[in-house]
């Protein structure tokens, strides 16, 4: 059962293919990440999936319907470009966004107040949006996205512009919604977010999807790396090292062989190599991304620099 399905989706603007033959399946109840650099086609793909714009070719179904707008009441959407009515009060904003999705204003206001209280922003419920900080306004918009209890939440670059504290709150919210059985799909150009939150990902670059599946499957595309330190540098045991072994003094780095690590260990012990250290490192999503999307696409990703909180 899929919350979103797309086959051969194409959207072009003035001859430029922003989305180029996308096939996608987002299982119900999953947290699904769409990874790709800026300009990869993430936003256009989400807009096409949501029915904001119509595809030039291909088919898509949203919660089983090929007319996404008919599922509006079951969908929450946070666009990349945040926008709110500046003179509207926070609680009215949430109620208005709920009303767009079929909620009554009264219920929207009640739920809006409850959500704001829960987020520690109850004191700001009656303040105009223009009186709120950027982070608070983004939180209000997020509340408006979930106020009507949607079955599917679509978040376009939800972490951009948020400070560390609000990013953590957002991650918490995503996990909480997921626990309730809500399907969540979000786009990001920061791999670490996807790695922490997602069960499944799609990697998109230049409008094409190069991978769609479990995060573990993406990682499994790469063999684990073995890091070995020996006391001796030479001996018969060296013949047991794989062909791709790279030597750095007493250190040996190589890809875990298909046969596993046991035959190598036997050879090392019998050859008296003197094992000082041995570690097997599972590749991260970043390595998998580089392997799948290529170095050039990976270079376009805006990874957070060291020390930047996520």
């Amino acid at each position: 059962m899929y919350a979103i399905e797309a086959h051969g989706l194409v959207k072009q603007f003035d001859g430029f293919r922003a989305v180029d033959g996308v096939d996608l399946k987002v299982p119900v109840g999953s947290i699904y990440g769409i990874l790709g650099p800026n300009g990869a086609g993430k936003t256009t793909m989400l807009r096409t999936l949501l029915g904001i714009i119509d595809p030039d070719a291909g088919v898509r179904t949203l919660l089983g319907s090929d007319r996404p707008i008919t599922q509006s009441r079951n969908v929450g959407y946070l666009p990349e470009e945040r926008g709110l009515y500046q003179s509207m009060r926070a609680v009215d904003t949430i109620a208005f966004m709920g009303a767009l999705r079929g909620l009554s204003l009264k219920e929207g206001k009640e739920k809006g107040r409850a959500l704001l209280e829960e987020a520690g922003l109850g004191y700001a419920a009656d303040r105009q949006i223009r009186q709120l900080s950027k982070g608070m306004a983004q939180t209000v918009q997020l509340m408006g996205t979930i106020v009507h209890d949607p079955k599917l939440i679509v978040l376009d670059e939800p972490f951009s512009g948020l400070d560390a504290l609000n990013q953590a709150k957002l991650e918490h919210m995503i996990r909480a919604q997921s626990k309730k059985g809500v399907t969540i799909i979000f786009s990001t150009h920061v791999i670490a977010h996807a790695e922490r939150l997602c069960e499944r990902i799609a990697i998109i670059a230049r409008g094409k999807i190069s991978f769609d599946g479990l995060v573990s499957e993406a990682r499994d595309r790469l063999r684990p790396q073995v890091h070995l330190e020996t006391e001796t540098l030479d001996g018969a045991w060296r013949a047991a090292l794989p062909a791709d072994t790279r030597a750095e003094g007493h250190w040996w780095h190589f890809t875990l062989p298909e046969t596993g690590v046991e035959p190598l260990l036997t050879a090392l012990v019998e050859g008296k190599a003197g094992i000082k250290s041995l570690s097997i490192e599972r590749p991260g999503l970043h390595d998998a991304f580089v392997a799948i999307a290529g170095e050039s696409v990976a270079a376009e990703m805006d990874e957070p620099v060291a020390g930047e909180t996520l």
Binding site: F16, T44, R47, G51, I52, G83
Partner: protein
């Protein structure tokens, strides 16, 4: 359809509330009073200037006796014919004393401001002045001289007055005034509001809220909601303006006396109101389509100017067609969607047939829906491009209204 209307109501309610609670709404309500105030001020100023400007005067340089008789004749005849019927007269000389004086010399005296000067006798007055002045004043002077010469000779018969509202001879001509009044009012309101709808949508785009709306509800609802909100605001404005106008007219006793339209006042007012809604819906839908495609306020101004001019031409066309009832030009004006509401207001004032209006209203409504759908289609086609979408092939250039490559 039910969902489209429900969502449109959500948008309309938000926009309507936002507008009427804004300070700008006060200016909107005051807007129509500015031209009135300017008109009153200009009229007052004009009147003052006119009063202060030297009025033409007929100078009398006859004998004292003749001049006095001429003055008395003017007073007597003015009682029946009105004070303004005869040009004011002023005794500027005495023929007995000014013998040999050239009449032209009287005209040179600037403070007297004479248009002509009368010399000679009552039996044979001589009028000196420019050709136009002499032509204009001669008849009056001759009448005064005749009466002065023989006060009993000119006797006016008093006719009994029996006033009717209109006559067959003058109905059409007079009703044209009513038609034009209706057309001007509807045109003014339509242009004012359609422009506001346009600004509203552009503001929405610059607020970046449009994407939330587009993802949540059909675009038809967004467009319809905005049209309804502005319409609601217009109706509120009309209510306020007519109330204040009504009070003003009561106070000043200045109720304008427009001739009764052919369909009668109640039907005419209803039709004017309906055609206003139709004209507004069509122009509003057109402007929304433009607003949906334009990315910036500058682009909106660029395109709305020619559209406004086109609408002005359209209005003049409908006004011109008023005088050509039943002729092809008038029939075309009644059929062409943008001029149809104005042309049909003209028909309502001039012709009693009603079924034409039913057909016209259905046609106009259909066209408004068509324009709305077109706007939605253009919006979905040209708007919501993100990032580099559509820019790479043109060397990074953006397309104005999705048509003309501009900028870098």
């Amino acid at each position: 359809m039910k969902e489209i209307l429900r969502a449109a109501f959500v948008i309309a309610r938000r926009d309507f509330t936002a507008i009427i609670y804004s300070k700008a709404f006060i200016f909107f309500l005051l807007g129509p009073f500015f031209p009135v105030l300017v008109g009153i001020a200009a009229g007052s100023l004009g009147g003052q200037i006119a009063r202060e400007a030297a009025q033409p005067v007929v100078g009398l340089a006859m004998t004292q006796s003749d001049s006095r008789k001429m003055t008395e004749a003017r007073e007597t005849l003015s009682a029946n014919m009105g004070e303004n019927y005869f040009t004011k007269i002023k005794i500027v000389g005495d023929a007995a004393q000014d013998k040999g004086k050239n009449p032209k010399d009287y005209l040179k005296k600037k403070e007297d401001n004479l248009s002509v000067v009368v010399t000679g006798t009552l039996a044979k007055p001589v009028v000196t002045g420019t050709k136009a002045s002499v032509k204009r004043e001669s008849a009056g002077i001759e009448l005064l001289a005749a009466h002065a010469l023989n006060p009993g000779a000119v006797k006016l018969t008093e006719a009994e007055a029996d006033i009717v509202a209109e006559t067959a001879n003058s109905d059409k001509q007079l009703r044209t005034v009513t038609a034009q009044g209706g057309q001007i009012l509807v045109f003014f309101l339509t242009m004012l509001l359609a422009g506001m709808v346009l600004s509203n949508l552009v503001e929405e785009k610059s607020n970046k809220i449009i994407e939330i709306l587009a993802a949540s509800i059909p675009m038809e609802s967004v467009f319809l909601g905005k049209l309804f909100a502005m319409l609601g605001m217009a109706l509120l404005g009309i209510l306020v303006w007519t109330t204040i106008g009504g009070i003003g007219m009561q106070v000043t006793q200045g109720l304008p006396n427009f001739p009764t339209p052919a369909v009668g006042w109640p039907v005419f007012i209803t039709l004017c109101f309906t055609y206003f809604i139709m004209a507004y819906l069509m122009l509003g839908a057109l402007f929304l389509g433009i607003g949906a495609m334009a990315a910036t306020v500058r682009e909106v101004q660029t395109i709305s100017m020619p559209v406004t001019m086109a609408q002005l031409i359209n209005f003049f066309f409908a006004s011109y067609a008023l005088t050509k009832t039943g002729q092809p030009v008038e029939q075309f004006a009644a059929i062409f969607p943008f001029s149809s509401p104005f042309a049909m207001i003209g028909r309502a004032a001039l012709e009693p047939t009603l079924w034409h209006h039913g057909v016209a209203i259905v046609g106009q409504l259909f066209f408004a829906i068509l324009l709305l759908r077109l706007g939605v289609w253009l919006f979905k086609r040209n708007v919501m491009k993100s990032g580099n979408a559509g820019r790479i092939k043109d060397g990074g250039k953006r397309k104005l209204f999705g048509l003309i490559a501009v900028g870098g």
